[in-house]
Amino acid sequence: MKNTILSAKGLCKSFAHNGVQNHILSNLDIEIYEGDFTVVMGASGSGKSTLLYALSGMDRATGGTVSYGGEDIVKLSEKKLAQLRHKDFGFIFQQMHLVSNLTLFENVAVPGYLNKTVSAESVNKRADELLEKMGIAQIKTQLPSQCSGGEQQRCAIARAVINEPKLLFADEPTGALNRKNTTEVLNLLTALNNSGQSILMVTHDSRAALRATRIIYIADGAVIGDLDLPKYTPESEKSRETQVNAWLSSMEW
């Protein structure tokens, strides 16, 4: 029996544009389980990123509830949401979004400094370890503009996990990367998941979806498919590819 880490009920998100309401998510129910590498897939404009932001508290849903730790994060104050972002959730953006005037090391360490229960020395040590793990320790004093896209994304992953989040959100983390960097980033995420990190990732890349232990497919703002998979191993990649592609085809992918 899996433990639910995050759940949403009747989730709605709509935007008004030129006086017309666009319903991106409508009455969506979803549960995310602890330890899973959950991948959300869907066609472009299906609302997958909107779902990710609504679930992570980066954006507020216009209806429904998002429960985390017994609280509805839709109703949290800005202060509590900020606490949630630096203590419990980690986030990886498609465009990396590193702070441009901080070095790679500082980009990783600064969110750690927000956690008042951990000493600065511990944060620095963990940042060094993470940069080492991500293979970018040798360039840690460089600014993002001096690094490649892959290096930046690895730094963004290190940043996202500096506070040992309960749940790591990733919004198309390989979307802006070349093939080599994509594989490296996916390997890192898989390793993190293997070490017990819960991950919720949005992607439209079926190769990235192979790393999932669960794939959720959404269309028109609603969940239309849910596939459980065993843990990823490099050896299982071929057989998973066949299974996932077949399933995606059934979803009209």
């Binding site: 404009g45 609302g47 997958k48 990123s49 909107t50 932001y53 980066m58 954006d59 800005e78 202060k79 900020a82 606490q83 949630l84 972002r85 630096h86 203590k87 986030f91 953006f93 498609q94 465009q95 979004h97 590193l98 702070v99 441009s100 005037n101 901080l102 500082e106 360490a109 600064v110 969110p111 400094y113 927000l114 600065a120 944060v123 460089q142 600014l143 503009s145 001096q146 940043r159 919004d171």
Partner: protein, 783 residues
């Protein structure tokens, strides 16, 4: 047409920058309109007053015996003299207002001497037909209200004047103030001569009863057109030795100059300040335009691709800034109306004349247009960047901002995180903040200079006469120069710490130029040397640097002092004095005796007020024949305090106004710069929010960044102040006679303005960064 459309769109989208430029311009225009109009109003009031009061070209006060036939005929026979009008008056050396002894030379006239106007009850204008004074009533100058405490209608004015029957006995005349008058010739607070007006009956009584030494003639001498005051005076000195016979000779121009002394000094300071504000406004505009071009690189590229020339785009910027400046100028002109009213009221207590509150519209509009023209030149320069925008480069991704590593970057520490983040935001783009550093530095430099100036002028530090006499002895005709020592010995036997000074002032010729001489023994009780030393022997003088420049003399040179019996004196040092706008020299009382044969009066400041009577009795007992008259002051002379208070008040107003304007200016500048920085850094703000920073924390980072910038500016301003405050103030204060300002920059002089500017940068940055609240992390989503 397309320009107008673009202009409208630009103003609509950049309301903040538009309003800020308008606000800066409003402050600048308000500052110079207030100053210039106030100066013009004072000038106008003085000139009109001199006309209705019929102020003569030269006014001379003489004792009756000096105003003899020889003098009268010498004056009348001078080819430059058009007329001579003599009026008898009574001089009082011991006058009291509301119980306080006055320090001004006092002359009493009958009310029929129609040279004054009576203020109305609200002190805003004059009464057309004032009632005739009754016996026991008196009109006094309006400025005396500010110089002494509790002076109002009904207050007592008392004169103690030696009697004709026995000059050793003073007759007392007590009168009640009936009203306050405007006296365009001698009514200003700064002028040490005051005219009082009593009823015909009281004047007759007084004039008939006072000792002949107190019967004085005020001679008004009018010149033919084109005559030069100094030339006429020189000629009269040659023909009748007029300077030596007179107690005071003064020209219409001199009294006018004294009357507007403070407004002239104040306007000099404000002009320097306005220039500084214009520089700041230009830096701000330059920064705003270049940042705006950087941020709208793509849009401008698109405009170019659609056929807009660089010049058309630049024209939009120019028109936008000109429109903001015109609106600001109009607002500044409107706001100057109440400011002028306040300034007029403030300066009325100094000039003693009912001041009008008119705006010098034409002059100020022309000046405003001049400021706008200067700004346009800088806008044209700042928009040069537009010519370098290539449509292709702009459309294919624009000019993205790249942060480079900086040598001044220091590692971001956990505590205090907001400070270190702010510091990094500054150091990683330090170059783009040079303008703001310059602005903070200039403001702090000026504030420090104003504090030094205020410190130099306040508390009476600049005033001559560092002695507050408790006993004043008017020496008798029997007093000889050798008696000075005896007097001092008698006083010091009772009070070893008493200050005893022999002092007299009069106009004397130095190398044929009439100057004010302040003779004293010991001179150090009056003045301290700037260079060289003060006179010790009877053949030595010290001069001001203004006199040194005028006469072309320096320390070690000799000068001839006196008229017919001129004696040679050695210049031993320079000093400074506000008396006569610095046209003054000093020598010992013995030196004065060597030239004029006159003995000075004795002033004694006791160390213990309880010893006043004992010293007074001892002087009477041992030297009664040497004492002409004697007055005792049992408290510190409050008249000097009144003057000091007035100047302290003006200094305080000046400091408050300059601080206020500086803080208002920094508010506008910070608001404008923060708005640009915020727009530029919107993405970074979103990222930091996504990492768990609250809006409050991000606003603090913003505030710390600008506080750090202002602290760097403060350092630069402090260094500039150490280097340049002295010459700036020397330049500003030379017009009042102070040639050297000790730039006593203490830690407080630096800390107070720096703290004020840093705090205002911090607070205004925090307020301006309120838009951070509106940033949503959702903006980072690319669905």
């Amino acid at each position: 047409m397309e320009i107008i459309r673009l202009l409208k769109a630009n103003i609509r989208h950049k309301k903040g920058a538009f309003k800020s430029i308008a606000a800066l311009m409003a402050i600048i225009v308000l500052s110079f309109t207030g100053t210039i109009s106030n100066n013009d109003n004072i000038d106008r009031t003085i000139k009109e007053g001199q006309i209705w009061s019929d102020v003569p070209d030269m006014t001379v006060f003489m004792e009756m015996n000096g105003f003899d036939d020889e003098t009268v005929s010498a004056i009348n026979n001078n080819p430059d003299v058009a007329g001579l009008e003599a009026v008898n008056c009574v001089m009082s050396r011991n006058s009291f207002i509301s119980g306080q002894e006055t320090y001004q030379a006092t002359y009493i006239y009958p009310e029929s001497y129609d040279v004054y106007r009576v203020f109305n009850e609200s002190m805003t204008g004059y009464i057309e037909d004032p009632e005739l004074l009754k016996e026991g009533e008196i009109y006094i100058a309006y400025s005396l209200r500010g110089l002494y405490d509790n002076v109002e209608i009904g207050s007592e004015v008392r004169f103690e004047i030696p009697s004709a029957a026995d000059p050793m006995v003073n007759d007392t005349y007590s009168l009640k103030v009936k009203g306050f008058i405007a006296d365009p010739n001698f009514g200003a607070a700064i002028i040490g001569t005051k005219r009082y007006f009593v009823s015909e009956a009281d004047f007759e009584k007084m004039y008939g009863a006072v000792h002949k030494s107190r019967s004085v003639v005020e001679a008004g001498i009018s010149f033919n057109d084109g005559a030069d005051y100094l030339q006429v005076k020189k000629a009269l000195n040659e023909s009748c030795n007029i300077t030596e016979k007179s107690m005071l000779i003064i020209s219409e121009k001199e009294t006018g100059d004294y009357t507007k002394l403070y407004s002239d000094t104040g306007s000099g300071i404000v002009v320097a300040f306005v220039i500084l504000l214009i520089v700041i406004a230009i830096i701000t505009m330059y920064h705003s335009i270049t940042t705006s071009i950087e941020m709208e690189y793509i849009n401008l590229g698109i405009l170019k691709a659609q056929g807009f020339t660089s010049w058309k785009i630049r024209l939009v910027y120019i028109l936008q800034y000109v429109a903001a400046e015109i609106i600001g100028a109009v607002v500044g002109l409107i706001l100057s109306v109440p400011v002028l009213f306040m300034l007029g009221t403030l300066f009325q207590s100094i000039t003693g004349l009912a001041t009008v509150h008119r705006i010098s519209l034409l002059k100020c509009v022309i000046l405003s247009l001049g400021v706008i023209a200067v700004c346009v030149v800088f806008v044209i320069t700042a928009t040069l960047k537009v010519t370098k925008i290539s449509p292709v480069r702009a459309i294919s991704g624009g000019k993205s901002e790249v942060h480079f590593d900086s040598r001044i970057n220091v590692p971001v520490k956990a505590k205090p995180l907001a400070f270190f983040m702010g510091l990094r935001q500054f150091t990683s783009r330090a170059k783009s903040y040079i303008g703001i550093i310059l602005i903070a530095g200039l403001l702090i430099y000026f504030l420090m200079s104003i504090i030094v100036l205020s410190d130099r002028l306040s508390g009476g530090k600049f005033m001559s006469g560092m002695i507050y006499p408790n006993i004043t002895v008017i020496t008798s005709d029997e007093f000889r120069i050798t008696d000075m020592e005896k007097f001092e010995k008698t006083v010091c036997e009772i009070d070893g710490e008493a200050k005893v000074m022999f002092n007299s002032t009069e106009y004397m010729l130095m190398d044929d130029v009439e100057l004010f001489c302040d003779a004293a023994t010991p001179v150090e009780l009056m003045y301290q040397p700037l260079e060289g030393r003060m006179p010790v022997y009877d053949n030595e003088v010290a001069i001001t640097e203004i006199v040194a420049d005028e006469l072309g003399k320096k320390i070690g040179d000799t000068v001839m002092v006196g008229g017919e019996n001129a004696k040679e004196f050695l210049i031993t040092g320079y000093y400074q004095s506000l008396s006569e706008l610095g046209r003054t020299f000093t020598m010992t009382a013995e030196g004065r005796y060597r030239v004029t044969g006159k003995i000075s009066n004795c002033y004694i400041e006791v160390s213990d007020l309880n010893l006043i009577d004992k010293i007074s009795e001892a002087l009477d007992e041992k030297h009664s024949s040497l004492i002409g008259a004697k007055t005792l002051q049992r408290e510190r002379d409050s008249s000097a305090d009144g003057m000091i208070q007035m100047i302290d008040g003006i200094c305080a107003v000046l400091v408050i106004v300059v601080f206020g304007i500086s803080i208002a200016f920094s508010a506008v500048v910070i608001n404008m710069v923060c708005a640009k920085a915020f727009t530029k850094e919107r993405v970074d703000t979103g990222i930091l929010k996504s990492l768990g920073f609250t809006s409050q924390e991000l606003r603090l980072q913003f505030s710390f960044r600008f506080m750090i910038i202002s602290a760097v500016g403060a350092l630069a301003g402090g260094i500039a102040s150490v280097l340049f405050t002295k010459p700036l103030l020397g330049l500003l204060l030379r017009i009042v006679g102070l040639t050297r300002i000790e730039s006593s920059i203490t830690p407080a002089t630096f800390i107070v303005p720096s703290a004020a500017i840093c705090a205002s940068f911090f607070i205004f940055a925090y307020i301006a960064a309120r838009k951070i609240n509106t940033v949503e992390v959702r903006e980072l989503i690319s669905d």
